[in-house]
Amino acid sequence: MEFTTFLFYLFAAVMLFSALRVITARNPVHAVLFLVLAFFNAAGLWLLLQAEFLAIALIMVYVGAVMVLFLFVVMMLDINIERLRHGFWEHLPLGATIGAIMVVEMATVLTGKYFGLSNFPAHVLPVGESNTKALARILFTDYVYPFELASVILLVAIIAAVMLTLRQRKDTKGMRPSDQVAVKRSDRLRIVAMASESESPATDSKGGAPL
């Protein structure tokens, strides 16, 4: 067995295990962390396919950003996983049977020989061309239209998220940093010309109480 084959099975095994733990872990935080592990191993599998850009983008986007926020939310929620699991064992036989039937059906249809994998041209990168560069080149030439469309979809997501969550309350106290920076001395401090006062004890002309 080649070393890469060994690595493939290692990554795949860990990934399957952690994916299983995602749905079986009792603690939702553990489940999220197992999902992170699953992503990690998926990235490893992609690295083995020499798709280093996709692998690293997966880690950067999913592990580094999406899952952190996910974890953030899950930690704050009080999820009673026991209640969610209620009735799991009762419905398991039916669900498992249907699932098994579907798996068998799909497997019979989708065994390897049906796909025209041999029709696909072998993917060969020219020497000295990195995967990232090749991807960038095709993304910004032939596929620029779908690429831009995807960016518009993200823009819509931003607009929708802002629209659905931003509430402008009237009683919020905020600050405007630009105003703070623009403050002049004269806005805050007034220097008043006064006659100097002497140190002498309270014997002033009007005979008032000592200060």
Partner: protein, 350 residues
């Protein structure tokens, strides 16, 4: 010369050689790194002392030089406390996850021409990816401690680090554009050419000058990524008593400590490689070499210590505002500027 020396060893060890050789190289990087971390803490206390017009540590050893060793020994022999309500496994996974990325990232940092553990093409992406994992150590530690201060720290850190990763990543895009490579050695080599470099004033040809706004953004975001003053709300000793680290003691605490300082050196090294010409010599008549990288890293580290001594802590909303409303737009605009510049006849990158 090196190869001639290694050849017999290679023959003797056979197929195990690459593994052992890589392990040896890793040790060769990590041991000096750990020593640097130890003395960085010493140096920090000294500099802070001088800036406060104090003396700083001076009791252990000559001029206090053995102080970090003593600190290390103390931490090593301290009891590791596990809070009763903590999540037992994750509580110990946290510190490991904090320090592992900090060490793993050194794999792609070039120390001098050709002196790099893994000269991979996607080096920058690797740094960004592994760097983004660092936050897990803090979040897990904060959650697993089952303490409100630790949890507050974890929450603050996750939001802060994600925000500043965006700015850092966008800042790096300008660097990638001008060097048209993701390989760190190639990025350094790219800074060796230019009008000023030909005049013998190489330091003006480095990326920091044409990419000045991005350089500033990267440097400041780096400090925020490190959760160091003035962006240290994650630890915020006076507010949430050290945040995620509050329940840790002994070696588990020391791991966080090591991670923080290793990350500091790492960010300084990244700033040096991306913007300050890595191992390149600033002037034409002096040779390039590792020495220059060390000087640059030290200078950036001094900058970190300096602002710690000088600036008050930012408020949380100010940190978010700076990241999202100032840095992100600034870097985006500069990407556009660099793009137009590169395509115009005035381009300085060919």
């Amino acid at each position: 010369m090196m190869n001639a020396f290694l050849a017999p060893v290679q023959q003797w060890l056979g197929p195990v050689f690459p593994l052992l050789w890589t392990l040896l190289k890793i040790v060769l990087i990590l041991v000096p790194l750990m020593l640097s971390v130890a003395y960085l803490t010493f140096w920090e206390r000294k500099i802070l002392g001088w800036m406060h017009v104090r003396i700083g540590p001076n009791r252990v050893g000559p001029w206090g030089l053995l102080q970090p060793i003593a600190d290390g020994l103390k931490l090593f022999f301290k009891e590791v406390i596990l809070p009763k309500v903590a999540d037992r496994k994750l509580y110990f996974v946290g510190p490991v996850l904090a320090i592992a990325p900090a060490l793993a990232m050194w794999a792609v940092i070039p120390f001098s021409d050709g002196w790099v553990l893994a000269n991979i093409d996607a080096g920058v992406l690797y740094l960004l990816a592994i760097g983004s994992i660092g936050v897990y150590g803090i979040i897990i530690a904060g959650w697993a401690s089952n303490s409100k201060y630790a949890f507050l720290g974890a929450m603050r850190s996750s939001a802060q680090m994600i925000s500043y990763e965006v700015a850092m990543g966008l800042a790096l895009i300008s660097v990638l554009m001008v060097s048209s490579s993701l390989n760190l050695s190639a990025i350094v080599h790219g800074q060796a050419h230019g009008y000023f470099a030909a005049q013998g004033m190489g330091f003006l040809s480095w990326n920091w000058l044409p990419l000045l706004p991005v350089f500033a953004v990267y440097l400041i975001s780096g400090v925020a990524e490190l959760n160091r003053a003035p962006f240290d709300v994650v630890e915020g000793e006076s507010e949430i008593v050290a945040g995620h680290m509050v329940e840790y003691s002994g070696m588990s605490f020391a791991m966080f400590f090591l991670a923080e300082y290793a990350n500091m050196i790492l960010v300084a090294a990244m700033v040096s490689v991306f913007f300050l010409g890595g191992w390149l010599s600033p002037v034409g008549f002096l040779p390039d070499g590792f020495f220059w990288l060390a000087v640059k890293i030290s200078a950036v580290l001094f900058f970190f210590l300096w602002i710690r001594a000088t600036f008050p802590r930012y408020r949380y909303d100010q940190i978010m505002r700076l990241g999202w409303k100032v840095f992100v737009p600034l870097t985006l605009v500069w990407i556009l500027v660099v793009g137009v510049w590169m395509m115009s006849p005035l381009t300085i990158w060919k």
